[in-house]
Symmetry: C2
Subunit: 306 residues, 2 copies
């Protein structure tokens, strides 16, 4: 049996998995990203985890064909370099692929985490069978991954897919990216939490607002309907531009469920051009928190060719 | 020498050209689209023009390898069917490729006109050498053609590239497409003419406003700066999404020149993400009114493979 290792690094968790040739997870570790103050510590934890997979599962190193990492920031996937991570300090122009390959003595591939989520959903999840798909992860940031003609589309210098930084309006809130009125300034989870606090007059979790909305609570429904409308406006533009088969939406914010998805679907139906709107299907991501790891394993296994 | 025929049908003109194997125009006819009341008359004019090219240029039919048409509306380029033309009545689900091929006894290929403009600029014009390019034609409508990884990208059902129907704002003018606040509702030439009339208190042509702007006339400059800003907002989103090498802008409205282009460039620089904004180059289209014909000839010559 041939295995590969898929790793998903986020601002909160470092998730490491051993997957078989059908991309089923055979072993898994979840570590706290914040425990690693220096990048060398994080790299050592990855190396230790892979070695522990081999030991515990009674494998030999040649049983593992490759290691793939999905990373939260701009990556040069061809050269294997991390430009930087917006939410994890201490990483700047790190030749991570080379460093890890030398330590692990295994082929290593790295890419952007949203691309890995898109790849996993395309090959095994809600975008399976689509030729062109738009994948989003709704969290602190709004990440995007594009599948174009059956392949990850990374843009000219691997900096595409930034759906969260498409403007919803000419004028509006200033965004961390330097832009104005970006989608993320309306539906990033911190923004929604702040709105919820204002509406309910107290701290409230996203899960609670989702539960309230599911029960029909008017203010909670309005909160998620508004978020869905904003996302629907941006997606209407993308539907007219790309004419995709499918849009797949995952991440914590997507757990709001039907009230959010109905609002997105209605907005696209109302605003996108009729032919494109009738063609596109909107689905919830189905691989959940594992999508990034599995996508990274697929990418590595297929030797960075996709 | 091998020739092909490139045809560009617009709401105003039917332009037909004989091009050589290097896509230089050897002969050309410009007819008035409105002279053809029924579609059969327009088809007959195409057939007569091709036969006249052969006769006048002392060719034999086998000297012409194919005939390509760029058409102003949604096209099924694989089946060779015109769905309809928004601005030319009488065309609905017309199997134009089959009809023309039977009459001409030549291979015929049809596609959307904005795609043909993009193809011509990519192969011979301002997008030459780019791997990913966004091409726009600014006229009554705002047309778009995408070059992705060196090929025309048509979307899943050949309905992509509708840059003119990406929303600039959540709220705004109702668009003919059924959408709201589409780019076209801000910078379509009729909209700009109406604004100019209001500003100057009389009917004024786009050329006059451009001339005034070039001379530094304040109100005319503002008119074109505003148009550039709106276009720049939409393009900022596309730059973040697609991360293209180049954006190429043509069509009548693009003749406004530097005041428009400076405003577009400044807006992208201010609003798009720094890495993507620094990478993309914004150029004026260089093939002018011939781009559609030449693109159609390229598409036909290469047998619809691109």
């Amino acid at each position: 049996m041939s295995y590969s290792v898929g790793i998903d690094l986020g601002g909160t968790n470092l998730k490491i998995s051993l997957v078989d040739s059908r991309y089923k997870i055979k072993d898994k570790k979840v570590l706290n990203t914040r425990n690693f103050v220096r990048k060398e510590e994080l790299i050592a934890a990855v190396v230790n985890s892979v070695n522990s997979f081999i030991r515990v599962n009674k494998l030999n190193k040649p049983d593992i064909s490759a290691v793939g990492l999905g990373l939260p920031g701009p990556i040069d996937n061809k050269k294997g370099i991390v430009h930087f991570f917006p939410n994890i300090p201490g990483w700047k122009n790190v030749a991570l692929r080379k460093i890890l390959a030398a330590k692990l003595k295994l082929p290593v591939f790295i890419d952007n985490d949203a691309n890995m989520m898109a790849l996993a959903e395309y090959r095994l999840g809600a975008a399976k069978g689509a030729r062109n798909a738009i994948c989003l992860t709704l969290g602190t940031g709004v990440g995007g991954g594009l599948i174009i003609e059956g392949k990850i589309f990374r843009g000219s210098i691997n900096a595409g897919g930034e759906i969260g930084h498409m403007p919803v309006n000419e004028k509006g809130p200033k965004c961390n990216c330097g832009g104005v009125a970006c989608l993320e300034t309306y539906i990033g989870n911190k923004v929604i939490l702040a709105k919820a606090k204002k509406i309910f007059g107290k701290n409230i979790t996203l899960e609670e607002t989702s539960r309230f909305a599911a029960k029909g609570e008017r203010r909670a429904r309005k909160l998620w309907q508004d978020a869905g409308e904003r996302l629907g406006v941006t997606l209407s533009g993308i539907v007219n531009l790309i004419n995709p088969d499918r849009i797949v939406i995952g991440g914590g914010v997507a757990k709001a469920g039907n009230v959010l998805f109905d609002s997105i679907k209605n907005t696209i139906k109302e605003r996108a051009m009729p032919v494109q709107a009738a063609h596109v299907k909107i689905y919830k991501a189905i691989l959940g928190n594992d999508a990034g790891m599995i996508g990274a394993a697929i990418m590595a296994k297929e030797a960075g060719k996709i």
